[in-house]
């Protein structure tokens, strides 16, 4: 490997989130502490014959606020969500004081200054982008030209970049439910390879009839709300939202900061919609992330799993964790009980959970869990608890097409 490629690392400077829990990163901070559930009966899904109408949906008052703020995008909800997350993530960057050590991320510390537009990049993660535009086209309902355009995820990425004054590299990742972690990987590469000084990584997906009907046909929804790693789990709950984070060179942030140290992906080469039964594909991705970071398995303090609540996924993850960590699996949790499975936003929102968990030095719990499945490793976190030392965090996702991804994060000095 070229030694020059290993000298730079990307760290997370700031973040922004909108989900069933509400608008703002503080909603995730509260969730890590207070362990709520954001899953509820969704009125807009009622009476449509879906397997479940319990979901993690963005509250109507937030939709109202976002539409009021940007009427030109009133019929492009994916843009509105992604834009809201990006605005929150970017505010501390531009509003900072020179000596502002109170910014949540440490952005604004010595050595950091806002780069020119050409050195700012954006990576979008999404599975279905502005899918509601296609639904409206199909039903022959009114659909604005902007919505038609943003049906194409790459053009949504281009529009978000333009709206945020970004003229550097722009990418769009759409690799099922691992899109978010791959987007962070791609963003980190732009920093490591000196193609950008600041990269916005944003993930977004909507709770649409299209997606609900798809998962209903697969019979993979849990009518009462998902219960990841529960002995009686039956399926997942869908969600909607957006998560954004800002990556910069790690040395420009005052410690402590969360640095992206490793990543890996793999394919099960097994099944399109089901995970491999033995967990070996996800284990491969984890081992690749650990290898890139130069981190031994025993140094990992915490794992934030994909944890959808489907019988097969959670069993597969348990096996992958045992494959990598043996009998000493680190504490692990799932956040799907907070905001549902948000598909292309999942990797971003859940990495932000890792960020706020590291800041607060709290190990988050697993919402929805009643009785842990005895077959999964017993280090499953039922409720939040203070961490003795939360330094190396592993984030996992898996998706359709047999895809697996792992991201290793390190909290501490640059």
């Amino acid at each position: 490997m070229d030694p020059a490629l290993t000298t730079r690392r990307a760290a997370i400077a700031t973040g922004g989130a909108v989900s069933a829990l509400g608008l703002g990163l503080e909603t995730l901070e509260a969730a890590v502490r207070d362990h709520p559930s954001g899953l509820r009966e969704c009125p807009r899904l009622a009476g449509k014959g879906f397997q479940s109408t319990v979901a993690g949906f963005v509250p109507e008052e937030i939709w109202h606020e976002l539409r009021q703020r940007d009427p030109a995008h009133a019929d492009t909800p994916a843009f509105l969500l992604a834009d809201a997350a990006l605005r929150e993530a970017s505010n501390p960057l531009w509003n900072r004081r020179a000596d502002d050590r109170a910014t949540p991320s440490g952005a604004g510390q010595a050595g950091w200054s806002a780069p020119p537009a050409s050195r700012r990049g954006l990576v979008l993660s999404t599975t279905k982008a502005e899918i509601t535009a296609l639904e409206r086209e199909f039903r022959q309902q009114p659909c604005s030209p902007i919505a038609q355009r943003q049906l194409f995820p790459a053009l949504l990425a281009a529009d978000l970049a333009a709206a945020h004054g970004i003229t550097g590299p722009v990418q769009c990742v759409s690799t099922a439910c691992i899109s978010g972690l791959l987007a962070i990987q791609q963003g980190a590469l732009l920093i490591e390879e000196d193609q950008a000084d600041l990269v916005f990584v944003v993930g977004v997906d909507l709770l649409s009839d299209f997606v609900l009907s798809g998962f209903s046909t697969l019979k993979s929804l849990e009518p009462g709300g998902c219960r990841p790693f529960d002995a009686d789990r039956k399926g997942l709950s869908l969600g909607e939202g957006a998560g954004a984070l800002v990556l910069v060179r790690s040395e420009t942030l005052a410690p402590p900061a969360l640095t992206v140290t490793g990543w890996g992906s793999s394919n099960d080469a097994n099944h399109l919609t089901g995970p491999s039964r033995d967990g070996s594909g996800l284990a491969l991705a984890i081992l690749r992330a650990l290898q890139k970071a130069g981190t031994p398995p025993e140094a990992v303090d915490f794992v934030h799993t994909h944890g959808t609540g489907t019988p097969y996924n959670d069993a597969m993850e348990g096996m992958a964790l045992r494959w990598v960590f043996g009998a000493r699996v680190p504490p692990y949790c799932s956040s799907k009980g907070w905001f549902g499975h948000t598909l292309g936003a999942a990797g971003l929102l859940e990495t932000l959970v890792c960020l706020v968990a590291a800041r607060q030095q709290i190990l988050p719990g697993t919402a929805g869990l009643r009785t842990p499945d005895p077959s999964v490793p017993d280090s499953l976190l039922r409720a939040p608890r203070p961490a003795a030392s939360l330094r190396r965090l592993l984030k996992l996702n898996a998706g359709f097409g047999g895809t697996n991804a792992a991201l290793l994060l390190e909290w501490g000095g640059a």
Binding site: M1, D2, L5, T127, K128, I131, L134, E135, E137, F138, Q148, R149, L151, F152, P153, A154, L155, A157, A158, A161, P169, V170, Q171, C172, V173, S174, T175, A176, I178, L182, Q186, L189, E193, F210, S213, G214, F215, T217, L218, K219, G264, S265, S266, N267, D268, A269, N270, H271, L272, T273, G281, L284, R288, K292, G399, F400, G401, G402, T403
Partner: protein, 238 residues
């Protein structure tokens, strides 16, 4: 694309579209008369595995048209994947790019929401089909290229440079629903028939291997140029 590009080469390229199919060694062949008219009209339902290969696969018939195009393009590489050892398959990365995405498949799902069709309403599903057929378990990525920005070739080259993959299959496939997509997509990389599949195999330069000169064109244009009749540029490593 600078740096250590010269350590890595394109070993094979393939192409399939309304005009024909082929690879860097055979050049592009026109479709045989039977079925050619339908294919030129863009009726991809006429596209069968047995149209190109001396075998049949039931799985192929269940796929959406984007996956068919991508999988056929990889098979057309004729790269000996079937004899590859399992340990090497674990190091083969698959990087897909698609400008059209799966919008045409999405429309079909809206018309007929079946479980068997839902799996194909992701642009990355073709990647899963390729990995299942050839047992590839290396890194994966599906990019929807933003106009004017890099795509699968650049990403795959990065995997090789950083040692994250031992070889990479790069695939570009597009199935254009003209009514919805025509105004949104760059005409440069989309064929007149509205659909195409192409693939290249990237890997380290090795003694005696097939080798095509590196170029930084967009993937469809690159593959198309290597597969053009009368323009084979393959040669042994030198």
């Amino acid at each position: 694309m600078g740096g250590r590009v010269n350590e890595f080469v394109i070993h094979a390229a393939s192409f399939i579209d309304a005009e024909g199919f082929g690879n860097d060694r055979t050049g592009r062949r026109p479709w045989p008369a039977a079925g050619a008219e339908a294919l030129q009209r863009g009726d991809l339902e006429a596209l069968r595995w047995s149209s190109l290969f001396n075998s049949e696969t039931a799985r192929f018939g269940r796929m959406d048209l984007l996956s068919r195009l991508g999988l056929m393009a990889v098979e057309l590489l004729d790269a000996g994947f079937e004899t590859m050892e399992p340990a090497r398959r674990d190091t083969v990365g698959v990087c897909v790019e698609t400008r059209s995405g799966c919008t045409a498949t999405d429309l079909r799902f809206l018309q007929m929401p079946l479980a068997s069709g839902f799996a194909y309403t992701l642009p990355s599903t073709v990647l899963g089909e390729i990995c299942i057929r050839y047992r590839f378990r290396g890194p994966v990525l599906c990019l929807l290229p933003v106009p004017g920005q890099g795509g699968a070739l650049e990403a795959a080259l990065g995997w090789l440079k950083r040692g994250e993959a031992g070889a990479c299959v790069c695939v570009a496939c597009d199935q254009l629903d003209k009514k919805i997509a025509a105004s949104a997509l760059s005409p440069d990389d989309l064929p007149s028939g509205g659909w195409q599949g192409c693939a290249v195999l990237l890997g380290p330069r090795t003694s005696g291997s097939r080798e095509l000169p590196w170029r930084s064109d967009a993937l469809p244009r690159l593959a198309r140029s290597f597969c053009s009749p009368g323009n084979p540029t393959a040669g042994p490593a030198g």
